[in-house]
Symmetry: D2
Subunit: 147 residues, 4 copies
């Protein structure tokens, strides 16, 4: 899908907001792709991010999917507005045991108040790419609450 | 609802598995209540857990809700089995800007393969308790994969 | 939870809108309880409502849960506004094979734009009440679009 | 994605089961495309399927999405097994006010016990195709309970 940003400074705004999410830097997440309606985030495996079997905790997988989806929405919001996740749903498809995760947030439907996004997470290994999670997110546009 | 654990060692098993979730200790989450079909987890606010407005990131809120729901299920699983989140859904009800979060996981329906849990998160302040999130989780019982 | 309706005519408005939902009468659904923030709907089993095993189709179970949740929200909306489901999630807990279903919609959090509701469906038999489904619904308040 | 059915009679089995879903014929739904991992269902607008504004009720939209997703899964299940929806989530993207709905069920991940599907619903008008809903479904394979 083709989207045209309303704010000429959309990219700087999204990158600035991501940099201000202390949780993302605490996890070690990196913003690796930003385009209108599309944001990708990567996360390298570290012991601190794992559950009891040594795989990525569903919480770390979900955190980058949520930020990728939220920033995909923010790329299309007007200047001076912020983004808020109102709800989401994740299906965990395969064990997230690869050395790196790639979360891809994509806008499915842009609305004035609510914007719906998909968030897919892939586990990247030497020779494989595994679809570890797929989700749907509802993002709200907050006017007058700059991100 | 009243549940009877199948494994006499259920409590030690749940506490042991929680202690092995490196992600929980990285966040600073604490297991504060464990009963058959019910687990509560607390998390204190720190800059590292926040999003761009200084509130708890939806990812940190979700992470403790997921662990609380998963361990609520594990209290009722037979000895020698593990727990896996297959999917969940969260509604974020109010801004999570309180100094402490309390996630309460509760089993709604225990099944042989799939167990459904609720996960509610409350923000605890000096004089308030705010319902910040409510969710539904499907947990899978993994036989022969001890947690 | 205690809720105070904003519109003195809330009950007539909800009953009128339900009566205008042709789909509810086509299914044979009945509005059996209406209170501020709470609506119950019943549905009797008929062959026309079943899936391939003779149980209620997930679609019929979901339809009454959705209407119950939506009308629970509408009881609290201002005069002159309508209600729209923006998203929902259902967990099907047990086979819906009882002679009657009871859907209970309850407001969890009332907001200016978005209102979150729970929807639980019970199968009612001679001597049993089975929890067949639980769900979460996001309802939107449409100002100036009377229901 | 390419899927290879395990049961040589997969198509007859899916068509037979759909024909046995009394609810689908009560709604007037038609099975219009069946392929391995993919099933499409259509539904024409009638007064009986509408909510209070004259659009398709979310329950009718959801019902065909659920059946399309479930049968997409069933195309890939072994002979002698049935399919059961364990949970799903729907986002309603646009008003479903077109003369016809097309629900497209697609398998995202085939598993031994659980299979995850997407279900997208499009409203088809004279000159338009509107994405009215998108959803995620978890289907369970029931061995020894033929559909």
């Amino acid at each position: 899908m083709q989207f045209a940003p309303k704010d000429p400074d959309w990219e700087a705004r999204v990158r600035g907001s991501f940099a201000a999410q202390a949780f993302m830097s605490y996890l070690g997440a990196e913003l690796c792709h930003v385009a209108p309606g599309a944001v990708d985030i990567e996360l390298a495996l570290r012991l601190e991010l794992t559950q009891q079997h040594g795989f990525f905790h569903a919480g770390s997988t979900t955190s980058i999917a949520d930020s990728a989806a939220g920033y995909a929405a923010l790329t299309l919001f007007p200047a001076g507005s912020g983004v808020l996740t109102t709800e989401f749903k994740m299906n965990l498809l395969n064990a997230a045991r690869q050395p790196r995760l790639l979360a891809r947030g994509r806008v499915v439907k842009l609305g004035r108040t609510l914007t719906i996004c998909r968030g897919d997470v892939y586990g990247l290994g030497e020779d494989e790419q595994v679809h570890v999670a797929t989700g749907l997110f509802t993002m709200m546009c907050l006017s007058g609450m700059e991100d």
